[in-house]
């Protein structure tokens, strides 16, 4: 079973996503803030297959999550960023940051699934 770390402070979206991904046979670990997520990732990275993070989070934001993931030596899991349209970073900025992919909210769950499968292939 592949392990996904999901970081999203908005409860409904996080729970929905977790529910959806679990139904697709993924092991989902939910975090509602960046700080806890980063300390978990730093400990458990060899077992993590994918990190999905929101951009604006309490304590530490999506930027720091992406940065932390990319700075861990030997860590290879891809990082996907959830962005809201309009006022946040552009596609280019995100990719420059080191994110492997991004998806703009609101997104279709099936599209998200396709992207996840592709990233972990």
């Amino acid at each position: 079973m592949k392990k996904i770390v999901l970081i999203e402070d908005e409860e409904i979206l996080r729970k929905s996503l977790a529910h959806f991904l679990t139904s697709k046979s993924y092991l989902v670990l939910e975090f509602d803030n960046g700080l806890d997520a980063i300390s978990y990732i730093e400990k458990e990275y060899p077992s993590i297959d994918l990190v999905i993070t929101d951009l604006f989070l309490p304590f530490k934001g999506g930027h720091q999550v992406v940065q932390a993931c990319k700075e861990i030596e030997g860590a290879q899991m891809p990082v996907m960023v959830l962005t809201a349209s309009g006022v946040e970073e552009t596609e280019l900025d995100l990719l420059n940051m080191g994110a492997d992919d991004f998806i703009t909210k609101p997104f279709s769950p099936s599209v998200l699934l396709k992207r996840i499968e592709k990233l972990m292939a």
Partner: protein, 818 residues
Amino acid sequence: MKQIRNDISRLQDLLSYQIMHTREEECFNELAQLVSFICDVPAGLITFIDDKVQWYKAKVGTENTEVPYEQTICQYALIEDDLLEIPNTLEDARLLDNPNVQQENGVRFYIGVPLRSASGHIIGTVCAFDMVPKTLTKEQKESLKIVARQTMHLLELTKRNRELENEISQILEEKIEKAQVQIRQVEEAYKTLFRAIDKSNPVIEFSPEGKILYVNRQYEEILGYTSEELIGMPHSILLMEEDLAHNTGFWEALQQGEFQSGIFRRLHKDGSVLWIYATYSPVLNENDEVIKVTKIARNITLEIAANENLQESKRLADELSIQKDRFIANMSHEIRTPINAILGFTEILLEVETEEKKLNYLKSVKNAGDNLLYLVNDILDFSKIESGHFQAESKTFPLRNTIKNTFYLLEVSAKKKDIIYQYFIEEDVPDWISGDRLRLSQILLNLLNNAIKFTAEGEVSLRVSLLDNSTLKFDIHDTGIGIPEDQIATIFDRFRQAEESTSRKYGGTGLGLNISKQLVEKQNGRIWVKSELGKGSAFSFILPFEKAEDNTEDTEEKKESLPNLTLGIRVLLCEDNELNQKLMRALFTDTNYLLDIAENGIKGLELLRNNSYDLILMDIQMPEMDGYETTRIIRNEMKLNLPIIAITAHSTENEKEKCLKIGMNECLSKPFQKKVLFDLIHYWSNQPTIADHENREVLTSEVPVLQLDYLKEISVNDDAFIASMLETFTVNSVQSKENMQKAIEENDAESIRKTVHSLKSSFGVIGSDDTLLQAIESQIILQEDPSVLPLIMPLLEQLFQRIDQINEEISFYLSKKS
């Protein structure tokens, strides 16, 4: 016989030649030689005879230098007129006792020619003799006489020369004496001058090498040294170190005797810097060698400092002036946006309000707003002209119509004051000309408005006539307060009203006339005024123009005649400012047009991709993507040709041109009248070649409140999960609402923004439209100012209602399910 020997006048004459007992002279010697040659005898003489001796001035062939008078043979020649020749002296009775004759080897032959002076006295002889008797030829005798005459010439010349020399030397002496007197005077004057300078100016003297020789008290004072400390020191001790290098050349020039002057920096004894203006004068001796250098200085440290302050002040003032202009331009621009909203809403309210009292209040608001706008436009115009961003337009327009329309714009204000208000356009004034319609209106409005403003009774009239084939003349005459004579010259200056109290009494920026003048002059015209205090003023201006073809078929005329009734036209407004959005929304309420609003270009393109529109109203300044870029994408990438009307805040020609160039169809500048807007919309949406009607869809104005498709998909139709999510939404959204209400009280916009932002995801999940959330968030981000809250309060109220509405739906849904 005439007594010759002792004749006083003869002796005086002889003396006057100053020849007796003078030294030998070559010219006389040569003449004596010539005499001996002519006579072919050994002895030739030039002699002068006084009462005692015969003295030989020049001689050849004899040892004697003089002979006592009694022993001379020449005494007998003296009485001859012509010459005396004695071929054999032994046969002459007069010489029987003469020792020179009677001695052995004495004189045997004698010939002598008397030397006759200019005054007729015989003063000497030219004579010759031999030891043998002989007779001379006639030619020899004549030659001898010539020699005698030449000798006399020589004497006369010598005498004359001497006299001249005397005269000259006498003149010279007089001159020298005079010059000496003058020199003494000059010297005296120079000394006085120097004393004066020395008393009043700092003076210092140097040796040619630069050693200090003399320092006066003034110099001591400005430098802080005593002369004892300075004398003998090199001048360089007074210089600053960095000035030493280029001082070398300076001193070399002085040593060459060149005068130098300028402004110099010097070091005070206490180390402070002082500035002097100084002249360095090398003093030369008679061989033109520099013997010393005198320097006269003036301490200008204070002047320099004052000048620097002045320069700095001027620079600051200039900078401030630029900043001020920029500030005025920016501020005027910023002010226009809210005025626009105020006027727009007022116009709407005026349309619907029925209560008389409120109607009056609203009219006052409208009036005040109009005035404010007028002022701001004045200032903006002014700063545009001042900064050189003004260009007169040259377009064909109906002149007579324009004048009439402009005139009637002010009819109401004239009527209010109960003054006669009339215009007269002469018959030969053309209907159509080419020029700047807007500027002409502006000038006329300005002048007419002024005329009405300053006229309490009587009349205001406008007369338009043709000065010549290419010049129009406008006269605006009033019977108002008039302008005092001494202020007529400055009445067109900026910020100028005839009296300061005028602006208090009549209002205005004092810029109107200056703007009018500049506008007239920018169009190569001329403006002037005649006025009499208390009787009225007559402003006149002339404008050159170009005639144009009659253009009655022009679209402008058509537009007005089109019926303003069309069904189901869809308009997309791209506009970031919420107030303007609301204003537009309100303007569109009672029309048959359908309005969608995008808060920036990106949103606009998104809406355009998903819907079909007949026309776009495009704001230029928007965040994310501005109106230019959006239009470019619509035209070049999406290849859509629907009409786009630009709505700009800057009503510059540049901007208008840019709008049209980039592919927009029309440019409307804020603030605009409702009628103008809808005429434009009507006009452009009825252009069959432009509007794209094919993909029109039916508009669904309802926004979704709750749509569970997404939740269903994401939960894979897990009803229990959906229900729990909806319950969570209710709990969370109520909490969010409370948080926001609290934040409003605390005026914490950022907290509201965060809450709104996180709500966006939730709305997305439960399928509720999040436009409202986005609007609130972008407003807060854009305004970056706590004062944004009052502005977005209506939106927040809507949001709270929306949350309640959603939660009602949710509870309805959940009750149905259970």
